[in-house]
Symmetry: C2
Subunit: 115 residues, 2 copies
């Protein structure tokens, strides 16, 4: 049974909060090409603090959107990878990111005009 | 020139915050069919407080996504309507909302399994 974003009691609202979060958006976009390490993600997503990135990755893992692999090496290697559920989220997220990138000037001009 | 969501100094990040906000998402979806009054929006979007709805509408107007029309009637009638820029945002927003509604059970199951 599908959810209903307009129903205040439907958990869809919680999902919208998760996938609407800009750090989650940037993680999904960053993992599109395959698994990446924490430091690779941190470097790719400019401006994210390790604490926020850790919280975002943990929350997305809890939501089944990505997995955290620990390779038994010395030192241990940790990689994050989108699950099939996470991969299915890429298209709508890319559409939102594309809209933001291609309309940023119009929105900023409107903000300036609004004073 | 397009923005870059991965650049921490690019205003695209501000746009992602705006359009990622669940109340903005629900306003765009609600205004898809044409102009609506404040009370119609408030009733359509269950659980939104008048204060949050007012703030969301004001911020979206500042961003050029919708306009607020005041009709000189007694009592005055006020309607909100998506601008062409706001209409162009509908498709990516609908894609995100559709994903959330059709995957809510999988995400909630993952959350339950994660404990």
């Amino acid at each position: 049974m599908n959810g209903d974003a307009f129903d205040p009691d439907c958990p869809t609202r919680l999902i919208l909060d998760r996938i609407g979060d800009k750090w989650s958006v940037l993680v999904v976009l960053s993992l599109r090409g395959g698994p990446r390490r924490f430091t690779e993600l941190r470097d790719a997503i400019g401006g994210v603090t390790p604490k926020v990135l850790t919280q975002t990755l943990r929350a997305m893992a809890r939501d089944g959107l990505l997995t955290r692999h620990v390779f038994a090496e010395v030192p241990p290697r940790v990689e994050y990878e989108l699950t099939p559920l996470g991969q299915s989220l890429h298209a709508p997220i890319q559409a939102v990111a594309d809209w933001a990138e291609s309309h940023v000037n119009e929105v900023m001009a409107a903000r300036q005009a609004a004073g």
